[in-house]
Symmetry: C2
Subunit: 357 residues, 2 copies
Amino acid sequence: MALTTEFTQRLGVTHPVIQAPMAGGSDTPALVAAVSEAGGLGCYGAAYLTPAQIAEFGSAVSAATSKPFGINLFAPTPIPGPVDASAAIEAATPFFSELGLDPPHAPPIPASAFDDQLKAALQCGARVFSFTFGMVPEAAIRELKSRGLFVMGTATTVEEARALERGGVDAVAAQGSEAGGHRGSFRGDFDANVIGTVALVPQVVDAVSIPVVASGGIMDGRGVAAALVLGASAVQMGTAFLTCPESGVVESYREAILGAREDGTRITRAFSGRPARGIVNRFMTEIEKRDGAILPFPLQNALTRPMRTAAVKQNRSEFLSLWAGQGVRMARREAAADLVKRIVAEAELVFEKFSAE
Amino acid sequence: MALTTEFTQRLGVTHPVIQAPMAGGSDTPALVAAVSEAGGLGCYGAAYLTPAQIAEFGSAVSAATSKPFGINLFAPTPIPGPVDASAAIEAATPFFSELGLDPPHAPPIPASAFDDQLKAALQCGARVFSFTFGMVPEAAIRELKSRGLFVMGTATTVEEARALERGGVDAVAAQGSEAGGHRGSFRGDFDANVIGTVALVPQVVDAVSIPVVASGGIMDGRGVAAALVLGASAVQMGTAFLTCPESGVVESYREAILGAREDGTRITRAFSGRPARGIVNRFMTEIEKRDGAILPFPLQNALTRPMRTAAVKQNRSEFLSLWAGQGVRMARREAAADLVKRIVAEAELVFEKFSAE
């Protein structure tokens, strides 16, 4: 079996394909279960979920598949101090009005939800625990591993990958600059940590001895094969799964991906205060133009949430964070199980073509 | 033979490996000939050469190898109108002084050198003619093809690749965001046209029917294999060849590459007025901070040339355009022929590993 890797062997999954945890309602129990059932590893992003929601999501996945699946949280990030939100509120107000909403409130300084979420994650039935935005506390790593979970961190540079390995993770996801959604960067300068997948993956592979998962710009079997020959032990794909019928995205978001060009995304802080790659739209463009209109993460995320929630209900993509990577032209409407099977078959065919006679 | 592609077959070269034309003295006749002699395709960047220098370079390569080689020019770009160079001169003057030079002059508006360079290129003995920064005139394409040259343009987006194919090129080099040196972009927004290789190559392959050459972040056999499985017919590598002893770069430039990290480069206009990726250094950082300090291409290039020439003589990398891609950690000191043979062997080994039993 050509696509067997250290990752598939250690986890007992059939294919080295991870459906990226996407949070914010994009990944549903149906999507996660479909990917795992098809032999990949479905994962859910639980960073915005309460402990009760984490348990509920895990139960729903477990009811639909007995195969391994994963859960993802944000590592604890520094809580910002008090900020003046007036410019951000003023900038966002016209968008709120257009959706029939009252102006946004100054978001309260949030308490870290990590400890409670972690407790729920330990009991949700997941086989894999992944995280992004930094390193989780050592005690968390120990507890996760003692309960038999496979732990994976997210790196955007070699230095971050090394820090994660020293911290005791079982694998590192190397997030290339092509990737949609939030950048996992936690050391150095966000603007410098945008390394293309084809350059990042082999450099991370050379620097650590744990399995490396490639993410960023991978949309089909060609990308899967490329990741494996670069030395990755698996791929993590987000955008490709968003256009599956099982994903939770609103139809206008799905259409935005299917109509997008490879040069139609960029990295923005407009929605959450943290850099993330998405399809360029009106909110992004207008907010980026205004001084002081973007609060630090997670305050901006809290500030824009009512707008995004209303935009989902009204199917208005110009107010949504349309997270997507640079491989968008390769997106298609396809059931998640069919997608997993197709890309694996494509990758195998590619390898057959290049195998010596 | 596993690494045979449409590109190798049409050109009669052994390996699908192109040494990127680098101009500015980085590629020497010895480098170009060594790559071609080793079974790759050596290429020289002739954009800054006079017709006599183009002829001389071609003769030197032809004397050293009978294998095919290539030449590269800049497509004609719009000549800028008169500009006020005072801020650019003021910003650059301290750097000139530090090197013992008088302050720079306002550069004259240049005449296009393309037509004369093209005539020389047609007769220089090259088998391949490649270009960047746009499309060359239709008459040039016709003449090149009628003389039996294989013509290749440079694209950073799908739209640019399609435009080149419509223009009649034989192949298109898809330049990923990881690539060192000047961005080839000629349509749309420079800032949007930074697509990672792993995303760009398959989308270009899907959009055109001519062979696609992958460039950006490819440094060894893993990258070669990745490019081929993504659908590329060859790779084009620049940074990897700069640290070969045959390259023309000054020792401090070579050391800067060998000491660089994957997050140590960025795209700048500071040296030439056109976006190009290089290792961050003092000139880049300080010039980027100052308003109006960068003239449009090619005026900024002309303005900074005396400084760069003096910096080469004095081996001072902080004043040099240290063009390099994001794969810098994979650079090593190695003869060009050994590099070509090593990466091909690595790629073949990778494919063996993934071929079915």
